[in-house]
Symmetry: C2
Subunit: 507 residues, 2 copies
């Protein structure tokens, strides 16, 4: 075997015969192709073929030829995938999520078309034929077993769909990923197209309803590439005071809900978006009295590992890892201890509205800004420029038992307020937002009319530097429209804070 | 029995002993109470007690006493309920939907708090305790059977929840409603609170998963009132050219989807919002070649009855009727012929994300406006004033197989464009809107980036009187922000069309 490979990684003779270099594998992808890549939150993306493909693209461009592809993924990937393909000017369209700085710039420069979609929708919209045909798939796995069975790696994402849907399949076998991943996955093969769909019989976060393996038709596997390379694994920022304050507010609110019989003592399954606040909330729960917790989420961050290690979390279901380098070391050192307590599923199941609503999740997601009436912007800066994308936040927030949107009350050293008169882009509407949290406080919006929401949001969540101006806006809007008092706005000022941001760098 | 009653309407002896006048029954409702009313789209609301309650409120107000209540419902009711309570200044808060002109004015005048919520969410948020306790319920039924079994009337709405949740129950037995309604309902009693929820085992629109009856604890029934009064039953406007044009575009697009194998030949279950366009679509389907259709929707309008009568629709599941007076006459004349082909369910089931997604609905809903990027406003006029509410449109659109939002391209004799640079309120985000239809054309937005959506919406859906200005806005927005080209906006002009509307009456 080649360096980094291992005798236990490719157990299918026919597919072992298709091992080739990344460069040869990349030659299977043609200009204009639509390619489905593995990868979710910087885990389980292919490590070698995208780079080799980028080299072919650059060479083609140097020859004056066009070579761009459409790239579909699970969610965000890494510089080794989105980064290199964007740097090679090789992407024409990207679906359904990204967070790469080079790619983001190209989207905002108008070079790459980006379809920012709910992560639970991608697989079905692909199957429905709404996105067109899928020419190729490039999927990282931990091992290839006989008969087309694949041990998934550190994310599942949309891999099941890409493997079934693509004409040509390239597999990357990454021996950096623990071989012990076998048994960590639950891949549901019960999906059908309407009108033939059946209920998803999942009633608790750790229940298995599928197979531990992905399946592939071996005849469609055109290349196998061996790699030995780590996932992206960004280091965690240390917990700052603001994150800690938001976490304390949120955990205290959960306590309050338990006291009022609106939540079981062991809470309900936790979903938390990626980032420091989510990790801080997990740290807050670690220090709390809560026991017997569960999690049904997208991504396993270090905070969830801490809760598992402490015995406070009985199990976590997700679609990917999103650990720090330290978290990876801890996981790899005790991988067998985590078996049965961690399950990775397809993202259409981890984020499925049916399952999210049934399980009754506590959904905790970040935001860029909220307006005084509780409409949330998760994706855009000042209305026009995309940051990352909506990801799974809509799947979870809309269908959760209880949802939280969290953000520090200001950004850029106080130049920008996260609470604004009118959100410059709306990803979560007033109908979908229940609790807002900043380091200033927590606004419980359940059962409130828009004006009552505004009073509470301004009072509890806005930074003192902006509170008076928000109150002034709200008061003047009410005076200006005495017969339009449901959601009063001053249309000439509503987006003024964002105009000021663009013109002066401050709101 | 009293006039309008009938020996077959109240078969429970104990409850027959609690028959009283509407005035006496209304005395069971106290100032400050929260009251759950039956009623959905002008069907199945109580006809007598609200008026009697309004008289008590007016009398109290004349004495200088406060007498207001919170009112929860299924959806919209009628002048006999929302209208009289609002006219008596007897409402402090209203959840989750309304369409009454008097009440709307009071909401926009700031007198009544209105919580405009997804219709699938109300029952569960009430059970979760998010809206506080429910003091009383006033529910119309078609008959009272022994042992607390109730034959529902022309809507089910949230009646199951109000009957279970309220401390005191007032029943109105309306002998105007066909006694033959027995057997037309399927009330699901399998709902639980998380973490005890199970899959809803519904896999086809006409499947029965519940009981034909509502249940009530007889001990909590404090009054029974006999009535004989028709539902609201607004006459239908004649089909106009614009509705017909939109219907033709939509039906033709369904044909196109079938041809491209993206839809079965008998389509998928149809959901259509209330109004003339929805009726026109049904008329378009009536004249089409489609056969074996099904419907899983909120409200049964005349167009669905026509399709049933023609044998083109095999069955329809909804939560209420919404027929014209002529439609009611037709239904009542042949009520037994419709048995087994019409089922009314609780709105948490008719609108349930789990079921909507599983069945793969074709969702057709109206809108007030859409912006050039496909964000849809369903609720507000010029940002501040509420029109009706989001209703079930979010439940259906987000989870449908395919969704359509339809509106004439202009309103008020051409003074207002339904396509605007920036929606003045957003109820359905870019992530949730697939196809826009005006009488000008149809814009299929699936798989498009925001700028590609803008080009298509302006080109296909905008009225020619506004098209050049929209194109100009879009072009200048792109020039102004060469590095923010994902969703380019001119923040100083984005809401300018609505400003102009408020100032001049024209956009």
């Amino acid at each position: 075997m080649s360096p980094g490979g291992g005798a236990d990684r490719i157990l299918d003779r026919a597919l072992a015969g298709r091992v080739m270099t990344a460069a040869d594998a990349a030659a299977q992808i043609r200009p204009g192709d639509t390619v489905g890549f593995s990868g979710f939150t910087g885990a389980g993306y292919p490590k070698a073929v995208p780079g080799a493909l980028a080299e072919r693209m650059t060479a083609a461009h140097d020859r004056g030829e066009d070579f761009r592809i459409q790239a579909w993924s699970g969610a965000s990937t890494a510089p080794d995938l989105d980064g290199v393909l964007a740097a090679a000017h090789g992407l024409s369209k990207r679906i359904p999520y990204q967070s790469d700085p080079v790619l983001r710039r190209q989207i905002n420069d108008g070079e790459v078309e980006y379809v920012d979609a709910h992560l639970s929708h991608t697989a079905q919209h692909s199957w429905f034929g709404f996105y067109g045909p899928l020419d190729a798939a490039v999927i990282e796995v931990a091992a290839i077993l006989p008969h087309g069975l694949l041990v998934p790696s550190s994310s599942v994402g949309n891999n099941k769909t890409w493997l079934e849907h693509a004409d040509r399949v390239v597999l990357e076998v990454n021996s950096w990923q623990p071989r012990e991943f076998e048994g960590f996955h639950d891949v549901y093969y019960g999906t059908r197209l309407p009108p033939h769909r059946a209920p998803i019989q999942l009633t608790s976060p750790m229940q298995r309803i599928g197979d531990p393996y992905l399946r592939v038709d071996p005849d469609r596997v055109v290349a196998v590439v061996e790699t030995n390379a780590p996932d992206r694994n960004s280091p965690l920022a240390p917990l700052d005071d603001h994150s800690r304050a938001m976490a304390d507010l949120l955990v205290d609110f959960l306590r309050h809900e338990v006291r009022h019989d609106r939540m079981p003592a062991s809470l309900l399954p936790l979903q938390s978006g990626v980032g420091n606040v989510a990790n801080a909330v997990m740290a807050g729960l670690l220090e709390s009295e809560f026991e017997g917790l569960t999690s049904y989420t997208e991504t396993i961050q270090d905070g969830l590992l801490d809760l598992l290690d402490a015995g406070k979390l009985t199990g976590v279901s997700a679609t990917s890892f999103g650990l720090s380098p330290d978290g990876v070391r801890r996981f790899n050192a005790s991988v067998n201890d985590y078996k049965g307590r961690i399950l990775l599923r397809s993202q259409e199941i981890s984020n499925h509205p049916e399952v999210v609503r049934r399980l009754g999740l506590i959904a905790i997601n970040g935001m860029i800004e909220a307006d005084i009436y509780g409409n949330v912007n998760s994706t855009h800066v000042a209305g026009s420029a995309i940051m990352n994308g909506i990801g799974g936040s809509g799947d979870f927030a809309r269908n959760a038992y209880l949802n939280f949107f969290v953000s520090p009350s200001t950004a850029k050293d106080g130049a920008i307020s996260a609470i604004v008169p009118f959100a410059s882009h709306i990803d979560h509407t007033e109908h979908d937002v229940q609790v807002l949290v900043t380091e200033q406080g927590l606004a419980d919006l359940r059962g409130l009319s828009p004006r009552a929401r505004a009073r509470r949001i301004i009072d509890r969540c806005a930074h003192p530097d902006f509170r008076d101006r928000l109150e002034d806006y709200f008061e003047r809007a009410q005076k200006a429209h005495p017969h339009a008092l449901h959601t009063p706005h001053l249309l000439d000022e509503a987006l003024g804070w964002h105009r000021s941001l663009l013109e002066t760098g401050r709101m």
